[in-house]
């Protein structure tokens, strides 16, 4: 246990003495902020039009927040590989892997320490997004429901967890950061668009592939629907990534 904590603290120190974490936080704030701004502007335009034609009130959750959450998912897809690509590659290259592997700790403790450290950064990113959401909540009448916002937040957190866990594993496979970064990004992109197959193919195989898509499972969360199937999907991907990383560490260089 204490080793997980030790690695988590060390990682956080490293994140914030190097520009990496600041760059990711700043880029994320800018990109998510831009999405938020453009969707808000679009929403305002739409609702003014709606008012003119005497239509009912537009649904803030469906029209503004859901697309925003999806775009946050896309932004994480681009930015989180930059966080995970260095996690192992740097230890292998800098020789510190010898310290971690010869210390009296289990491999899984090392993996979990790194994962939770990155997860902390993810939490910070998502809290920034929820600052935007709070603004919407304040001005929207009726207020969007807390429960559905919470479910969406949980969904994004789990999605980010999947990114981090798989990224960590890919980073453990290579000593080159850029190779780790590019393969991670490619894998995320594939998982993200996998549900497109159902657009032109309705066979069983296509549905299996679509089931693997990260997007399919995010949809329920974003709509405020908590489904065990989605939970199981995300959690099992997270556990698989962590387990594989620990196994990978046990093998020779």
């Amino acid at each position: 246990m204490s080793a997980i904590w030790a690695i988590l603290r060390k990682e956080w120190k490293s994140y914030f003495v190097t520009p990496a974490a600041y760059v990711v936080l700043a880029l994320f704030a800018v990109i998510a902020g831009f999405f938020f701004y453009s969707m808000l502007a679009y929403y305002v335009m739409q609702s003014m039009g709606g008012g003119m034609f005497g239509g009912g009130r537009l649904d803030v959750h469906a029209m503004l927040l859901q697309p925003l959450f999806f775009d946050v998912g896309v932004t994480m897809l681009f930015l989180l590989p930059m966080v995970t690509m260095r996690l192992y590659a740097e230890e292998t290259r800098g020789g510190t892997m010898e310290l971690l592997k010869t210390a009296p700790v289990r491999r899984l403790e090392v993996v979990l320490g790194k994962f939770f450290a990155a997860f902390g950064l993810l939490l910070a990113l998502l809290l920034m997004v929820f600052a935007y959401v709070l603004v919407v909540w304040h001005y929207a009448h009726p207020h969007p429901g807390w429960a559905s916002l919470g479910v969406a937040f949980l969904g994004l957190l789990l999605l980010g967890g999947v990114y981090l866990s798989l990224g960590l594993f890919l980073s453990s496979l290579t000593r080159t950061q850029i190779v780790a970064g590019v393969t991670t990004f490619a894998l995320f992109l594939l998982l993200w668009v996998a549900d497109w197959v159902t657009a032109y193919d309705n066979g069983r195989f296509a549905h299996i592939i679509a089931y693997l898509s990260l997007t399919t499972h995010l949809t329920n969360f974003v709509q405020g629907v908590l489904d065990v199937k989605d939970l199981v999907y995300y959690l099992s991907l997270i556990f698989a990534g962590l387990f594989l990383t620990a196994r990978r560490m046990e093998l020779a260089e």
């Binding site: 080793a3 060390k10 020789g95 010898e98 310290l99 700790v105």
Partner: protein, 330 residues
């Protein structure tokens, strides 16, 4: 204390370590000597649990590494060839991290870090960022990291490689000061280093054990005769003639003359010959200024041992550049 039993490691088809067995006694400094590529780093990585062996096993204080890796790792402090440092951390933060990693209880962490800083003479550098330290200081941070939890066994992989002569001497003194409390295994490809720092030396070449002994015994093993240098206040030819008359000397060679004194080198079959030499020269009415045994350098021992074992082409003959010349002799 440490038992290495039939350890082997192959990288694909290449056998880097071949059926290596040796042991280390409590409190000794054991030198691990061999040319580059001999398999020193690979062996140390297997002892520390970084690499799984292909065959054989490692036992530390009666505990097998394979059965209880965590228990064994707790007993080992390891300085890899490349010190495992995080350049962005300060010396103090780094050592506190290692202390947590090594599961030192929180109350003892700060004292342990302070003690390691003091032992490695790093007190002044504690707040500095590791990436900005000189190579010598970084090496010391690596050593401080290894001794942090007072492990009974210290494994140091070429601790003086790449340092300047002054740092080399400092590091050797540091290593010697750590002996006694710790059993130390130190690898080097510099023969003089093993001779000056270690009590026993293991020589390996191409992954195989060549010899295990004290530096002095290795000398005797390779060369049973006694080589002596004599300085005497007499004409060189006269002195040489007097020495050639003695029964136990196999060779007499004039090295030179200087200000009325001559220097000669002789090979003696027995230790008693030393007394005969002194008696003969003093009896002839000359002044005997010096009678000194010349020991083989480890370079010569090494060449002789590994040459016989494998005909190694790349054995280092000279000490590394920057090595103080006076240390070339045993």
């Amino acid at each position: 204390m440490l038992e290495v039993q039939n350890l082997s490691k192959s990288y694909g088809p290449k056998l880097a370590v071949d059926n290596l067995s040796f042991s280390a006694r409590k409190g000794e400094i054991l030198g691990f000597l061999g040319p580059n590529g001999a398999g020193k780093t690979t062996t140390m990585r297997m002892i520390t649990g970084y690499l799984p062996p292909s065959h054989g096993q490692v036992v530390v204080e009666g505990i097998a590494l394979r059965e209880s890796p965590i228990e064994v790792k707790r007993r080992i402090g390891y300085l890899p060839e490349l010190p495992p440092l995080y350049p962005e951390l300060s010396v103090r933060d780094y050592l506190l991290f290692v202390a947590r990693l090594k599961k030192i209880p929180s109350a003892q962490r700060q004292p342990a870090v302070d003690r390691a800083l003091e032992r490695a003479a790093l007190g002044e550098q504690r707040q500095r960022i590791i990436g900005r330290l000189s190579k010598g200081y970084r090496q010391r941070v690596g050593i401080a990291q290894a001794i942090l939890n007072e492990p009974p066994l210290l494994i140091l992989d070429e601790p003086t490689a790449g340092l300047d002569p002054r740092q080399i001497l400092e590091t050797r003194n540091l290593v010697r000061s750590l002996a006694g409390e710790h059993t130390i295994i130190l690898s080097t490809h510099i023969l003089a280093e093993a001779a000056t720092t270690c009590e026993r030396v293991i020589i390996i070449n191409q992954g195989r054990l060549v010899a295990v002994d004290t530096p002095e015994n290795l000398t005797h093993r390779v060369k049973p005769t006694d080589t002596l240098q004599v300085e005497v206040s007499a004409p060189a030819e006269a002195a040489a003639a007097a020495l050639r008359a003695l029964p136990d000397l196999t060779a007499v060679e004039v090295l030179g003359q200087h200000q009325g004194a001559s220097r000669l080198q002789v090979e003696a079959r027995t230790l008693a010959a030393r007394e005969a030499i002194a008696r003969a020269l003093v009896g002839a009415g000359w002044g005997l200024r010096e009678l000194r045994p010349v020991e083989l350098t480890l370079e010569q021992i090494f060449l002789s041992l590994t040459g016989a074992a494998a005909g190694a082409p790349n054995v280092p003959v000279a000490a590394a550049p920057g090595e103080p010349q006076s240390e070339g002799e045993v």
